[in-house]
């Protein structure tokens, strides 16, 4: 099937959409510093305060929503291509749960208050350890081993996080862990951005290097190997790239679900089902979706601000159900 829009046009359109949403994200805020208040401050003598809000609060928040959204979209597309399974997402190989566990341990042990940035660093460490484990387990096995190992790692991480909650010294500590797990880009500083940004970019480059092998894998592993695809190298690229980028992202924002699952799904027909072309499109789509979701949580108020991860799950899960409902004939064929 031919893609309904030419690929360059699709990419350009998505890029314009992302830039527009990023701009919107810089100027839309909660009531105390809403759009009009911000412009009002700029027009009058309080321009300094307005710029400070923009630079210190909105910029890291916008940039993180964009980068993490791009990471989730890209990693989701790469994993779906590699595993040749439209239901794969960064959670399925255990990387995001492992990053969450690292961060939870930092919160639980109090390391996060003692050392600045201990929380994201522990998160990244968790993701990398998970990647090492997956490499060890999947070196001799195939795709199925990798997925099963991922499920096992996810379950173990979930169990250990429950243990941390169970043993947490007081309700406040437990609440802190719970809130962090919900996922958010609120109140993140430039330090978070500078720590996670370069790592995410590094992960993207590693994932991008696997792009053409993913196309060849559409023919199955044997035919791909016959075309000169190095399966072990491709697996290393996909696992490492996902661990570094999603690990770094999850470590600063907490768990944000469904972006990596839903975005590649929506965009796949638009790129003509080609796995390599889906990577960039999904990255832009993921960035746009997370920016939009983050703008929405600022505008819609239910007494307290809705957590970003809660919103993506609330919208993502029913949407995904609808996708499955619509595409079930195709999935079964």
């Amino acid at each position: 099937m031919k893609p309904p829009v030419p690929y360059p046009l699709l990419i350009a359109g998505l890029a314009v959409f992302v830039v527009a949403l990023a701009f919107l994200s810089m100027i839309v805020g909660p009531a105390t510093a809403g759009t009009f208040e911000l412009f009002d401050m700029m027009a009058h003598e309080k321009a300094d305060v307005a710029w400070m809000i923009m630079r210190e609060v909105r910029l890291p928040r916008t940039a993180l929503a964009l980068l993490v959204g791009m990471t989730l979209g890209l990693a989701g597309a790469a994993l779906q291509g590699f595993l040749r399974n439209p239901l794969a997402d960064p959670g399925i190989v255990g990387v995001s749960p492992a990053a969450s566990l690292g961060a939870v341990l930092a919160l639980y042990t109090g390391l996060s208050t003692a050392i600045p940035l201990a929380l994201p660093l522990m998160g990244i460490l968790g993701a990398l350890l998970c990647a090492l484990l997956l490499h060890g387990l999947a070196r001799r096995g195939g795709v199925l081993t990798l997925v099963l190992a991922g499920v096992a790692v996810s379950s173990l991480c979930a169990a250990l996080m429950s243990l941390a909650l169970n043993l947490s010294p007081n309700p406040y500590a437990a609440a802190e862990i719970m809130f962090w797990l919900m996922g958010s880009v609120t109140d993140r500083s430039m330090d978070h951005l500078l720590l996670a940004g370069p790592l995410m970019a590094l992960g993207w480059l590693i994932l991008a290097a696997s792009a053409r092998s993913l196309d060849a894998l559409s023919l199955g592993e044997e035919a791909a190997a016959g075309l000169g695809v190095n399966l072990a190298r491709t697996r290393t690229l996909v696992i490492t790239g996902t661990a570094i980028s999603v690990g770094a992202g999850t470590a600063v924002t907490g768990g944000i679900g469904f972006i990596g699952l839903v975005v590649p799904h929506i965009l796949r027909p638009l790129v003509g089902h080609t796995p390599s072309r889906l990577l960039l499109a999904s990255a832009l789509g993921g960035g746009a979706l997370l920016l939009a979701a983050d703008i929405l949580v600022r505008v819609v108020m239910f007494g307290s601000e809705l957590k970003l991860g809660v919103l993506t799950a609330l919208i993502g899960a029913p949407f995904f159900l609808w996708l499955i409902f619509r595409a079930r004939t195709e999935l079964e064929s």
């Binding site: 099937m1 031919k2 040749r84 290097a209 792009a211 053409r212 196309d215 060849a216 894998l217 559409s218 023919l219 199955g220 044997e222 035919a223 190997a225 016959g226 075309l227 000169g228 695809v229 190095n230 796949r268 027909p269 003509g272 089902h273 080609t274 796995p275 195709e330 064929s333």
Partner: protein, 246 residues
């Protein structure tokens, strides 16, 4: 160009799937690799291609060590059509055939005019131009085999190894596929095909290699290979060779 396997053995958990197999394939010939299920035909093919580890033996391409070449270079010399016919995603036939150009393209490169010309030649060869925009996932078995064969032809490698190209096809499509392979051999490529249909093998192949229990037991022109004694010992069937059935 000549691909040569010398004393190839493949072991898995101390069970020998292929033991000391020696065979060769030269440009211009159409060779059938036959033998009962589990004889080790597909395993031998994979070992020759270097996508399966060997426990002994060597593979030579024009007397040079083939398996020590980089994977992509190997893929440019020897094209491979595996038995697996499943195609993931709803990729159109044209894009699937273009994947045959993978060994010729740079990691971040896009299709050159030479690549597009090769894809068109491959589609010509299988008579598949009217299928080019249709998703391979919805094609019939015969159409899908033609497109996947075009994918292997699009590599434009001097040698081609195909695993059961006529499996699950009706007689018309079986003949069509065999004619495509024969045309390929007549235009100078060396083609080695794993086959189960002895009548087709006898009719089309220049030479037959027979495998049984991991070893090569016969190699030669079809008429001298397909004897009643061989059918009895290898296939455990009593009967006359196919040329006398026809």
């Amino acid at each position: 160009m000549k691909l040569e396997g010398k004393g190839i053995s493949v072991e898995i958990r101390e069970r020998e799937l292929v033991s000391g197999a020696s065979l060769h394939l030269s440009g211009g010939e159409l060779v059938g690799l036959i033998g009962p299920n589990g004889a080790g035909k597909s395993t031998l093919l994979r070992a020759m291609l270097g996508i399966r580890d060997t426990s002994a033996g060597e593979v030579l391409l024009d007397s040079k060590a083939f398996l020590s070449l980089p994977a992509r270079e190997r893929a440019r010399y020897v094209a491979f059509l595996p038995q697996e016919r499943r195609v993931e995603w709803r990729l159109p036939a044209y894009d699937i055939v273009m994947l045959g150009r993978y060994p010729h393209q740079a990691t971040f490169g896009s299709a050159s005019s030479e690549d597009r010309a090769a894809v068109n030649r491959a589609l010509d060869a299988v008579d598949g131009h009217e299928l080019r925009d249709r998703p391979v996932a919805v094609l019939s078995g015969g159409e899908r085999t033609r497109i996947l064969l075009a994918r292997a032809l699009a590599v434009e490698a001097p040698l081609l190894l195909v695993d059961e190209p006529t499996a699950a096809l009706d007689p018309y499509h079986q003949l069509h596929v065999m004619e495509i392979l024969r045309d390929r051999a007549r235009s100078g490529a060396g083609v080695l095909a794993v086959m189960h249909d002895l009548a087709l093998a006898e009719r089309f192949m220049d030479r037959l290699i027979v495998m049984n229990s991991g070893s090569i037991v016969a190699d030669g022109p079809p008429r001298s290979v397909l004897t009643p004694e061989l059918l009895a010992s290898v296939y455990r069937i009593a009967g006359s060779p196919p040329q006398r059935l026809a």
